[in-house]
């Protein structure tokens, strides 16, 4: 298959004009060389027919690349996401063609909407079989187009180094996202003259960062300086831009109260005096109500999701809106910005900070305190220190906070436990909250926790999962067993698909349609996988059980039975404005 044709020499001369040495390499090896050159250490994957040449090559690279064999490709990609979120690096996932590739789709969609950098490599049938309905052939490129930042099919090994370099560059730069590279089996097997790997840093049709327009930064600063009731909303952009310190300096200088989206959580320590809590449907009372009272709304790296804004025609109509975002298409998408500050917030925030005046906004901050007091009285006190016999999710999280002191990485699934965990969990450092925000993927937490642990090996990882979500990807206990992944699995079992049940109770006259979900004996299941576990129902067992879980060396599963029909409040019902938030 080796050719010394025109195409090859063109690539060579373009990339490395002075190259003298070439080595003959298979496409499969070139893929792995690219991974190594990009600093990849951990790969999550599952082998199969069409990706066998890459796995064969991997056999020789085991000392340089740590491959984690997952139990399902969806688990692999969620692990890749968890890894990316806690490490700040790009997650790498291998899967085979056909079902292997289609199993990645949920994770791709999740990573796309939550801006998680991933490079997924899928095997594909031989190029001459494309379009023939060959065994395990599927049109992966077209299936994944709407859920990838970029995707590409390689049929000739000569393309591999350049395309891999592009893949890693696109996944990580600008607003990050998932990239999928589909490589036909012939290209993996093909021997070609490998001339080395050059990282990509420019694609002429791709602008990862818009230019920072000084006039807008100045206009924004002027607006903030005049504001009497400013409110900052921050999202994952702060974390992705590694701008936590810049952000803190910005809000501290002008005494700006800051509220977070679910993905922005942990960018600012929980106990920071300017942290006024969570936005959105199940967020805190203060930031929701006061969104409709502030005079200047400053959005930093967030995208005004409908779960944050509620009804748009009743959202912050009185306020001037300043929107900082790296992705120009986000500005004006949902909420019209009066001042768009395009650019990486790592650059724009310090520019803003230097232009704004020192301020304290004490009266305004006191309003948040008043709201918090009200919320504590009506909601939080009952959730954290309940008088009920059966435990609440909130008190479990509260107890966990006492033990972890806010140092753990918290991975959550989707549903009531997710809202409760995000509301009450304490965080001291960034990149500590891993959850499926935009897509709301049940089954995310267990595999994501595996990846989260590899992304931050010396930190404690606690996966908080409901009894619904755990059953969606429970097979990944196998991965935890085999690779001895030290994750703590905390199942909050309310014996219901709780969030759906809550909606059925509130909006569908308690018609509990198919939310009554049965669970296996999780401790026995864990035992089958060689994972130690415990299950508790009594409050007096809670502290010790949590402590035992955290102190245990290696993976551990703890199931806590909580109130069956507890609801998450406050709540902005769908179709309502944020100030119509209900406390009960």
């Amino acid at each position: 298959m080796n050719t010394t044709g025109v195409k090859e020499s063109k690539i060579d001369s373009k990339k490395n004009p002075n190259v003298v040495q070439t080595e003959e390499l298979s496409g499969a090896e070139a893929v792995l060389k690219a991974c190594i050159a990009e600093g990849v250490e951990t790969i999550f994957g599952y082998p199969g027919g069409a990706i066998m040449p890459i796995y064969d090559a991997l056999y020789d690279y085991m000392d340089q690349l740590d491959h984690i064999l997952v139990r399902h490709e969806q688990g692999g990609i969620h692990a890749g996401q968890g890894f990316a979120r806690t490490s700040g690096k790009t997650g790498v996932v291998f899967a085979t063609s056909g079902p292997g590739a289609t199993n990645l789709v949920t994770g791709l969609a999740d990573a796309m909407i939550d801006s998680t950098p991933l490079v997924c490599i899928t095997g594909q049938v031989f190029a001459h079989l494309l379009g023939t309905d060959a065994f395990q052939e599927t049109d992966v490129i077209n299936i994944t187009t709407p859920v990838t930042k970029w995707n590409y099919q390689i049929t000739d090994a000569n393309e591999i180094p350049e395309v891999m370099a592009k893949a890693f560059y696109i996944a990580k730069s600008g607003r990050p996202g998932p990239v999928l590279i589909d490589i036909t089996k012939n290209a993996q097997l093909q021997k070609f003259n490998y001339t080395g790997y050059t990282k990509c840093n420019h694609i002429r049709s791709y602008r990862p960062k818009p230019i920072v327009r000084k006039e807008y930064v100045e206009a924004a600063a002027a607006m903030i300086n005049k504001a009497e009731k400013p409110l900052v909303l921050f999202g994952q952009g702060v974390i992705l831009g590694k701008a936590e310190n810049e952000f803190k300096a910005f809000i501290e200088k002008a005494g700006l109260p800051a509220a977070w989206t679910i993905l922005g959580l942990s960018a600012l320590p929980t106990d920071h005096p300017l942290n006024v809590g969570m936005l959105g449907m199940h967020g805190n009372y203060g930031p929701n109500v006061l969104t409709n009272e502030c005079d200047v709304l400053i959005a930093v790296g967030m995208r005004f999701d409908d779960r944050v804004t509620g009804r748009l025609d009743r959202y912050a109509k009185q306020a001037m809106v300043i929107h900082l975002d790296i992705d120009p298409s986000e500005v004006d998408k949902n909420v019209k910005a009066d001042v768009p500050v395009w650019g990486d917030c790592k650059e724009t925030l310090p520019m803003l900070t230097s232009l704004i005046k020192q301020n304290k906004h004490e009266d305004w901050l006191n309003k948040f305190k008043d709201c918090t007091a009200k919320e504590v009285e009506v909601v939080i006190e009952n959730e954290l220190h309940p008088t009920s016999e059966i435990m609440t999710m909130g008190e479990v999280i509260d107890q966990l906070n006492h033990l972890t002191k806010g140092d753990a990485i918290i991975v959550t699934d989707v549903g009531q436990h997710q809202m409760v965990a995000c509301r009450y969990a304490q965080f001291n450092q960034s990149k500590s909250n891993v959850t499926s925000g935009g897509l709301g993927t049940m089954g995310f937490a267990l595999p994501a926790a595996i990846g989260a642990k590899y992304g931050a090996k010396d930190r404690t990882v606690v996966a908080i999962i409901g009894d619904g979500g755990i059953q969606m990807t429970i097979q990944e206990l196998g991965t935890i067993m085999q690779s001895k992944v030290d994750v703590k699995i905390l199942i909050l079992n309310n014996q219901f698909l709780g969030m759906v049940r809550q909606w059925q109770q509130l909006f569908h006259e308690k018609r509990y349609s198919f939310v009554d979900i049965a669970s296996p004996d999780y401790v026995t299941v864990a035992k089958g996988y060689g994972i130690e576990g415990n299950s508790i129902k009594q409050r007096n067992e809670l502290k010790d059980a949590l402590k035992k879980m955290l102190d245990h060396k290696g993976p551990y599963l703890l199931e806590v039975f909580v109130g069956k029909e507890n609801n998450v409040f406050p709540m902005v019902p769908q179709g309502c404005g944020v100030s119509e938030i209900r406390l009960k």
Partner: protein, 178 residues
């Protein structure tokens, strides 16, 4: 191509026509897409298109700002045309050109804007129009200087300067002063 098309289909926006063609610069293709939506929607769509990794630049224009043409083919029974002199006159009047003449049918071609190609359908209908097909629109922006110059800028590594956005509206600024 799919990447562009799904930006519209995902939002249930109907594409009136879509044409891909080479541009004046080798390796750069020009897509001409016709849609009928409000300016607000088209702005958002343009940003979504421009966000695609393989897209160099996206512009949006109204009909006034472009020169555009479509081409149409009409298949008509040859005997009708041969018999009726009126048809010949009509075809001349509408600037149609015979592309193929066979015993059983003749194919005419016109190039023009929508009304022009449409009118000829109505005119030919009474004489037994067998088949009709119209191409996607091709267009050129009146005050565009083309891609030769633009390309130099794209090859630079500096971030882009071209983002479509109005300045801060005067009324909002005034509101702020109050």
């Amino acid at each position: 191509m799919t990447r562009i098309a799904i930006i519209f289909s995902r939002r249930k926006i109907n594409i009136e026509s879509m044409n891909t063609s080479p541009s004046e610069v080798e390796g750069i293709h020009r897509f001409t897409i016709v849609i009928n939506v409000t300016e607000d929607v088209v702005r958002k769509l343009v940003r979504q298109i421009e966000k695609q990794v393989d897209v160099l630049k996206a512009y949006f224009n109204t009909n006034d700002e472009i020169i555009w043409q479509e081409m149409a083919l009409y298949k008509v029974p040859t005997d009708t045309i041969a018999e009726k002199a009126k048809v010949e006159r009509l075809l001349r009047a509408y600037g149609a050109r015979a592309v193929v003449i066979r015993k059983d049918y003749t194919i005419f071609e016109t190039t023009g804007q929508r009304e022009e190609t449409n009118t000829l359908i109505n005119v030919l209908a009474p004489f037994g129009l067998i088949e009709f097909v119209r191409s996607a629109r091709v267009a050129i922006i009146k005050d565009s200087k083309g891609f030769h110059e633009k390309l130099k800028e794209f090859e630079e590594t500096a971030p882009t300067k071209h983002i479509i956005r109005e300045e801060i509206t005067a009324e909002k600024a005034a509101e702020m002063d109050r």
